[in-house]
Amino acid sequence: MTYVERLRRPSLALATVLAVLGFLLVTAVSTARASKRVEAPRKTQLIKLIENRRSSVDDLDQAVKQLQKQVAAAQTRANRRSRSDASAAAKLAQLSLAAGTTAVEGRGLVVRLADSDRQPPAGDDDGAYRIHDSDVQLVINALFAAGAEAVSVNGSRIVATTPIRSAGDTIVVNFRPVTPPYSVVAIGANAEQFGASEIAGRFHRWVSLFGLGFSVRQEGKVSVPAFTGRVAITSADPAEQSTAPAPTPAPGGGR
């Protein structure tokens, strides 16, 4: 059989192999396309999901505030009925004031903390040019030490169980991200006492060194919103041996 003859001879095996090639080619291409189609919308879906959840959290916050108002109104109504109710209601009001579940207003300080607007020099630690969770914690602690009775950060009430921590570059208060500048409102805090605190002194240094934003303003009437998170304590029971009265909860989560 000459070479040319062999070329002319239709080879079934060759045709089959090329059929396999064609099959594989189309399969691979269609698979790659399908996986791309699946991946592309997933990111936008996730972003949409986060935004939806955030707005529903905000809605629920509003609902909690509304219901707290209704509860307060119902309590004042019940209050008028009998003397025992009145004393219970007074006690409840006092307790919820201490627990932070009522919105309050009064004379207080507004402390504003902001990241530096300076460009950190190359090679320098850029962490010094930003406000950290520990800065917020120390400022809140100093405010409580200066006599603050109710404190909020960017509208988030600080209660005994409030965590202040960072998730990446974001500071999270009460499990909600807060964005700079941070406005810490403290009702009842003494301006001189806070100004004499260690953290205030440190911040004054940092303002000139790193350009951090730090200002303290005394205001005649500021308001602090109610805590909208979960306050019910279900698992923890008071220890039986303790005869001493329960200490007042450490402010700012005791951090």
Binding site: Y3, R6, L7, P10, S11, L12, A13, L14, A15, T16, V17, L18, A19, V20, L21, G22, F23, L24, L25, V26, T27, A28, S30, T31, A32, A34, S35
Partner: protein
């Protein structure tokens, strides 16, 4: 002629059947395709150099694809990325084959 017809028939079957390949398997399929393209170009080159033998071609085609898939599998077991190695080697061979075909067709 029959060979090209075979290619077409295979493609049409794939379009009609529309096989679904899972995420892990798609890498193997892609590698098999690259290996198959390499051996087809090798076949064309052999044809132009008058050394084409369909039995060798079929064997080379199947063994190339099989070895490529086996290497990817071994790489997965060893947690080493052999996919890149295979793609590089096959890519170089594809370019060499194309260059040889070009020299045959256009001379030089």
């Amino acid at each position: 002629m029959l060979a090209l017809l075979g290619l077409l028939v295979g493609a049409i079957i794939a379009i009609v059947v529309h096989p679904t390949v899972s995420q892990e398997m798609s890498r193997y399929v892609a590698l098999a395709v690259v290996a198959a393209i390499d051996s087809s170009l090798g076949g064309v080159r052999a044809y132009l150099e008058h050394t084409f033998n369909d039995r060798i071609f079929v064997l080379a085609f199947l063994s190339n694809a099989a070895v490529a898939i086996a290497l990817v599998w071994v790489g997965d077991q060893l947690n080493a990325d052999l996919t890149t190695a295979i793609v590089v080697v096959l890519g170089v061979r594809i370019f060499q084959n194309v260059a040889a075909i070009r020299r045959r067709v256009f001379g030089g």
